[in-house]
Amino acid sequence: MHVGFIFLAVIVGSVLFHIFTPWYWTDIASNWGSMDDTITLTFWVGGGVFVAVCLFMVYCIFKFSYKEGRKAEYKPEDKKLERILTWATTLGVAALLAPGLIVWNQYINVPKNAIDIDVMAWQWGWQYRLPGEDGKLGSTKVENINDNNPFGIILEDINGKDDVLIQSDVLHLKNNRPVKILLRSVDVLHNWYVPQFRAKMDAVPGTITYYWFEPNKVGEYEVLCAEYCGVGHYGMRGRVFVKSEQDYEKWYQEQETFSDLVAKQEEIEFSGTKLVKNNLND
């Protein structure tokens, strides 16, 4: 008998743990509430099935444990019961699948007004690039990356001239404005993941991947790398500030564009050569 009670305790314990757990989702800060909803739905249906199946099992333990001389029922099949169970399961599964597919459709179709953000990952860090006035990002090439051109922007591309470069792992986002995260990696797989935004996607070297979300809560969030990328994986963090429109614009204006960078570097180079020349003259 104690066997049944222990199993019962395990099931009741699981349910209680779920109800009283202090460890649960972080507060959502993006438009993907629908993801949480699908999870909740799956929890109700799945959790219900788990509890029902296990309770049935416990009942069987109590009711049908071994008695000398008692004979078990002999019933190889029950077509009707099996059919009912199959259809009920199919229905339940379809009910879980349908919302999933609908939300996925939203996930892969980016709204028109989304701001493109180039998230560049390497072992082990992040940096970001925002489009300039023209709203377009310039195209890039891994081979072009060097100290003077940290993003590998193709120089001939006019779209790239006014791109805003953020050479740090801190990104600022405008509240209530969708962003399309364009993920780029220069070495191995990475994944730009902010738990509060729910969404994620791998950055794959050799191609560009994307996803989108709309931050809707002002605040500071931590970026985690969610795809194993070597020994430094666990330390590959970043930060995101979601700001109101005013604050965001203020920050945005302060940032350096690609042409600024190029100009500055030319200046340094120029003065550098001058310096060398002066030294030679001495």
Binding site: I39, I61, L85
Partner: protein, 613 residues
């Protein structure tokens, strides 16, 4: 040499040669009639020396035990690695030698060992070899020599795998998925010799396994005894058989991806390697696609999950049936479910890759196929618990493991629905939710079955019973411990704790999980230690266990009906058994005992109301 063979044994006597099954006019058709044998009896090579009898042995039963022991040995290494990992996660810095490199190497080797070298080898190589010939009524596997080579290939593969611990740079630390590019680039531990040896070891394993797999398949398809139809095979055989089919068709993808990765590493080809900038320099690679590797790997990887799960399904069905003295409910549906799950497993692989940056539309396809698999799987669960219903359940150690399996499997199966459904997967993938899910469903649940199977079949292999007392202790510590490891772990995933973090406590919202991690680690140490109870139990029982005698569980299936226990080489003495019924005739109304072995002809149990044969 000729006395080594039982040459040209005459075709066995027929149970009734005169009256055909068709029935002659005026004479009642003989219900006991079974068609004569199609093929001559197998002639076997009997070893005489110690070496041919116990080391390079061609007896499938010995090979099965060899597989079992070697797989258990590697499994213990995997267990120790998991202890070290949990030590770091629960109590960071407690082990001074633990660097991030070591941690990732341990994670990788733990995963690879447990999935491939422990579970796959144990279920198919161990249980498959031992049970298939016995359960289908064959004298041995059809190609005993090839079967022997299979084990020794596995032995070499394990050797190469373990050798990678001792090469410069250590074993690979790229995660058991071995994703390129990082698997072969600096910045990942063991990206030199480690990864090469890993690939070589996998290739050897696949080659060796193919040899064994061919044996299992042909034995089931072509070497069954008289009267043994496919629909009279125990579900254990069905599970192992289908899993072997999957292995034969899925391992090629692993072989190809391992080979291509080795070439990428050794010859600097660019199958999986795009242009890469490392430490300010562009490497010599260019133009490859890392996602191709992921597709190949998971085309193997997903069937691999079922390679582990299906034998467990099959074995647990038999154990539940025997120990609740009741036929398995819905046998036909169980068989079809196994076959359908096996077939579908080739169409779902990319549900491991929803957030990998593959073609976005694939999400629709793979979510749908994945959730379709949930239906036959759920049917199996229903049938297990319906088998308990109105049974006469012996709550012995074997049954406890089965009940533990049901709880953990249902739990893990349902979290599988979370992860298979594409949208739900997005926030949860690459977090501890995934870790908890797959450990529950393909770690703990199959392990429960393995333990149950050990307690169930030990009397057959050794001729002595295992201690029930120790068995129950072992079960409760393992079950409650393992459940309390993995159940709370799901909630770490909800918080958003990513997998494969060496250390994670400086994030503000993760700090709340420190307590959970300590608790999980403590439980992990306890559960790991509890496994040594089994080893102790086996060693003691081998010498001092209660003699089992023939058929201690009153089971129907053929493996208990050999003339000698433990069965000898050739299994069946002079005469192969003849099968008259399915293996689940328990508690048949009108029968004297509550079980009717498969070899009992209908005339001996006249007056019973047998529904299915």
């Amino acid at each position: 040499m000729s006395e080594d063979f039982n040459d040209n044994k005459t075709i066995q006597a027929q149970s009734s040669e005169t009256i055909s099954g068709e029935g002659v006019r005026g004479v009642a058709p003989d219900k006991d009639y079974v068609r004569p044998a199609e093929v001559a009896d197998q002639d076997l090579y009997h070893g005489h020396s110690f070496i041919t009898k116990w080391i390079f042995c061609q007896d499938a039963k010995v090979i099965g035990v060899q597989y079992f022991l070697l797989a258990t040995f590697t499994g213990i290494i995997g267990l120790i690695l998991s202890w070290l990992m949990r030590l770091q996660l629960g109590f960071p810095g407690a082990a001074g030698f633990m660097t991030a490199e070591h941690y990732y190497q341990f994670v990788t080797m733990h995963g690879m060992i447990m999935v491939v070298y422990f579970l796959t080898a144990l279920f198919l190589g161990g249980f498959g070899n031992y049970l298939i010939p016995l359960m289908v009524g064959a004298r041995d596997m059809v190609f005993p020599y090839v079967n022997m080579v299979s084990f020794w290939m596995f032995f070499v593969a394990v050797g190469v795998l373990l050798a990678s611990f001792f090469v410069p740079g250590g074993p690979t630390g790229s995660g058991w998925t071995l994703y390129p590019p990082q698997a072969i680039l600096e910045g990942t531990p063991g990206s030199g010799m480690g990864i090469i040896l890993m690939c070589v070891s996998l290739i050897l394993f696949v080659a060796g396994f193919t040899m064994g797999g061919l044996n299992y398949l042909i034995t089931v398809l072509q070497a069954r005894t008289r009267g043994m139809t496919l629909m009279r095979m125990p579900l254990t055989v069905w599970g192992i058989f289908t899993a072997t089919v999957l292995a034969m068709l899925a391992f090629p993808a692993l072989l190809v991806s391992a080979l291509m990765m080795t070439l990428d590493k050794v010859l600097a080809t660019s199958f999986f390697m795009p242009t890469i900038l490392k430490a300010g320099e562009v490497l010599e690679y260019g133009g490859g696609t890392p996602i191709l590797f992921q597709h190949l790997f998971w085309f193997f990887g997903h069937p691999e999950v079922y390679i582990v799960a299906l034998p467990a399904f099959g074995i647990v069905s038999d154990l539940i049936s025997v120990h609740s003295r009741k036929n398995i409910f819905g046998y036909r549906m169980m068989v079809w479910a196994i076959v359908i799950i096996g077939a579908l497993s080739f169409f779902v692989w990319a549900h491991h890759m929803y957030v990998s940056g593959m073609h976005p539309w694939f999400g629709f396809f793979f979510a749908t196929t994945t959730l379709i698999i949930a239906v036959p799987t759920a049917m199996k669960v229903y049938n297990w618990i319906l088998t308990l219903w109105k049974g006469n359940i012996r709550l012995n150690t074997v049954m406890l493991w089965c009940l533990g399996f049901i709880v953990t499997f249902v739990n893990g199966g349902i979290t599988g629905i979370f992860l298979g459904n594409v949208t739900v997967d997005v926030p949860l993938s690459d977090t501890y939710f995934v870790v908890a899910h797959f450990h529950m469903v393909m770690g703990i649940a199959p392990l429960m079955v393995i333990m149950g199977a050990v307690y169930h079949w030990f009397p057959l292999v050794a001729g002595r019973m295992l201690s029930e007392k120790l068995g129950k202790l072992h079960f409760w510590i393992t079950f409650l411990g393992a459940y309390s490891i993995y159940f709370p772990m799901h909630y770490l995933g909800f918080i958003g704790v990513p997998r494969r973090y060496f250390e994670m406590y400086n994030s503000p919202y993760i700090t709340s999980a420190v307590g959970v991690n300590e608790f999980i680690s403590m439980a992990a140490f306890l559960v790991g230690a509890a496994q040594f109870i089994l080893i102790y139990n086996i060693i003691v029982s081998l010498r001092m266990g209660k003699p089992a005698g023939k058929n201690p569980w009153q089971a129907n299936s053929l493996e208990w009906l050999t003339p000698t226990v433990p069965p000898e080489h050739g299994n069946w003495g002079d005469k192969l058994p003849v099968i008259h019924r399915w293996p689940y005739d328990y508690s048949v109304p009108g029968a004297k005992d509550d079980f009717i072995p498969q070899t009992t002809p209908p005339s001996e149990v006249a007056g019973t109301e047998v529904e299915k044969t």
